[in-house]
């Protein structure tokens, strides 16, 4: 079943056609990768899907609902959560607190309840904390719950960011270059983690440059070049695709 459907989406920045007439589907329960050379429009596409940018034309349908006009926070509350290419953790907050922020859409106490410290908020706080700790344990970073998030090594910060996204219990997780800046061992672990997340029933769409990771974990790969889709296929077929090879390695004449 299709969870996300991108239909003929275009986005122009001044004279640059960043994304043009792009269509693809993401099936529920799958891992799909977006690859392409630098400047191919991958991050722009991510921003369009997650509501950080509005497309000039086209449709984006998530879970059967048109989300093109929705703001990023609305989209998140409908179950699509993203991470960032440059890690965006909340400074001055512990790992646990960072993940607790991710429980926002699953809790409800507002300004008044917070100011009056109403008893129902205590229970809610406790549930938020328990669920967040559970996620940290699942990701194997429970030991760092009380460390300041931005003081952790880079690789762990990435995992905290994913933990924060998972705390929203998303149906679709968008990962923007999850292996960027990670060493080979960490990249391998990231691959296992992404497969584990899929195992939890979360669909994953990722942008990634690390081909070993992409080829190993994805069910399907979409290749972009200059804002256009040039191929969409299973990893093994993509590796043999002449057009893809030409885009990545150049013509051999």
């Amino acid at each position: 079943m299709t969870l996300l459907s991108v239909r003929e989406v275009s986005k122009r920045f001044g004279g640059l056609q960043a994304v043009s007439d792009l269509s693809f589907d993401v099936a529920g329960g799958s891992i799909k990768a977006l690859i392409g050379p630098n400047g191919a429009g991958k991050t722009t596409l991510f921003n369009l899907i997650s509501g950080f940018l509005q497309p000039d034309s086209g449709e984006i349908v998530f879970g059967g609902e048109e989300i093109r006009k929705l703001s990023s926070c609305r989209i998140a509350s409908r179950g699509m959560v993203r991470t960032f290419q440059h890690i965006r953790l909340f400074p001055g907050m512990t790992v646990l607190e960072n993940v607790m922020v991710g429980r926002h859409v699953h809790s409800r106490s507002g300004f008044l309840a917070g100011m009056l410290n109403l008893p129902f908020t205590w229970k809610e706080e406790r549930r938020i904390r328990e669920k967040s700790l559970e996620i940290l344990e699942l990701l194997g970073i429970g030991a760092f719950a009380l460390s300041e998030a931005t003081s952790l090594p880079y690789g762990r910060q990435r995992i905290v960011e994913i933990g924060r996204a998972l705390a929203c219990e998303p149906r679709l997780l968008l990962l923007d270059e999850p292996a960027a800046g990670l060493n080979m061992r960490e990249t391998g672990e990231m691959g296992k983690l992404i497969e584990k997340i899929r195992g939890m029933g979360v669909t994953v769409l990722l942008v990634e440059h690390d081909m070993s990771l992409v080829m190993k974990i994805s069910d399907e790969v979409v290749v972009l070049s200059y804002g256009k889709k040039i191929a969409e296929d299973r990893p093994l077929s993509i590796q043999k695709n002449r057009e893809v090879i030409r885009v990545y390695l150049g013509d051999d004449q």
């Binding site: 926070c73 907050m93 607790m100 300004f111």
Partner: protein
């Protein structure tokens, strides 16, 4: 939570100690400035919530203070006796919204009772804060500062240019505010002690509300918005709405402070709406350490009191300008840092670790 409330309790004891000290020193008149300081502190902690926790600057909060003060002053001094015949006035009069009171120059005045006047002032503030905050909070950094500064200037010019608000003279002869039967907020020297406790009691109540908020789901969301707005929005926090709500909340604190101080002083003048007042409030929040409610409260207590006692003389505004300048240059985290002990501890432990050769 225990720690949160024990700090509040300790502060309450501190306030009692101050009152007792003035009692034994026979210097009860100090309480007048301390009471005024309390109302300014109410504004300061609200502004601290906006600047320190939601990360949004406002250089226009004197404007909200003035809206509260002026609306309340105008309604409680505007004599409606000539309109006694009109249906609206007699209806309001029957429903208890209007009261007769003796005028300063003899005769009786028919004016709005302070309670409904206060309600109108606060409601008007909420409406204006939503109208101004909606578009203005889309701006960031310098642009937000300039837009709120502009708002403050507009309020000041309106106040100065409106004859019925007393123009440059302001409004005087504002009656006391009967909070409970037998307890009124007024500058009457026989009520000095009770007013001191009422004012600071209100500050403590405001403090408890804001401390609760900081430690709630909303407080965490605000910290997230402050720290990384796009990431906060990516996990479903409606960042614009949270910023706006905090802006309105801090405006209500400012407006309530304006209402009550006006009744306490028996009047309000245009200097309360001046830009330098707004700068002063920001300077106090900055000196307190931005995201530090206790720091803001302590700095407000000390600086407002010194200012009201006239220690800064004619250089009053200059002193606050210099404070803001020095804080920004040399101590952007404020003078009263929450983590100062933790930082010292970390510094020593780092040195110790260095000696071990790791």
């Amino acid at each position: 939570m225990v720690r949160r409330y024990s700090a509040v309790f300790a502060f309450a004891l501190f306030l009692v100690a101050i009152q007792l000290a003035t009692l034994f020193a026979g210097a009860g008149y100090y309480l007048t400035q301390l009471t005024m300081t309390a109302y300014y502190s109410l504004l300061t902690i609200g502004l601290c919530m906006l600047i320190g926790y939601a990360g949004q600057i406002s250089l226009g909060h004197a404007g909200f203070f003035a809206i509260g003060g002026y609306v309340s002053a105008f309604l409680t001094t505007c004599d409606l006796t000539p309109h006694k015949g009109s249906a609206l006035v007699s209806l309001l009069s029957k429903s208890g919204v209007l009261v007769f009171r003796p005028g300063l120059y003899g005769g009786t005045l028919l004016t709005v009772h302070p309670w409904p006047a206060c309600v109108v002032a606060i409601l008007l503030t909420v409406v204006i804060a939503y109208l101004v905050g909606g578009p203005v909070l889309k701006l960031r950094g310098h642009y937000l500062a300039m837009a709120t500064l502009g708002f403050g200037i507009i309020i000041l010019r309106i106040v100065l240019g409106t004859e019925s608000l007393g123009a440059a003279d302001g409004i005087s002869d504002v009656p006391g505010f009967p909070l409970f039967p037998g307890l009124a907020i007024s500058g009457d020297s026989s009520l000095r002690v009770s007013n001191y406790y009422m004012a600071w009691g209100l500050v403590i109540l405001g403090m408890v509300f804001l401390l609760n908020l900081v430690h709630s789901r909303v407080g965490r969301a605000l910290a997230a918005v402050h720290g990384a707005e796009d990431a906060a929005s990516a996990v479903g926090i409606p960042t614009a709405r949270y910023k706006l709500h905090t802006f309105v909340l801090s405006a209500v604190f400012a407006s309530l402070a304006g209402v009550l101080l006006t009744h306490y002083n028996g009047g309000i003048g245009p200097s309360e709406a001046s830009v330098m007042k707004s700068v002063r409030y920001v300077a106090i929040v900055a000196a307190g350490g931005m995201a530090n409610l206790w720091g803001a409260l302590m700095m407000s207590l000390v600086l407002n009191y010194l200012s009201l006692r006239g220690y800064f003389g004619t250089f009053d505004d200059a002193v606050f300008g210099i404070i803001l300048l020095l804080i920004m240059l040399f101590a952007p985290d404020g003078l009263l840092r929450r983590h100062i002990l933790a930082d010292l501890g970390r510094m020593f432990s780092r040195n110790a670790a260095g000696e071990e050769g790791s």
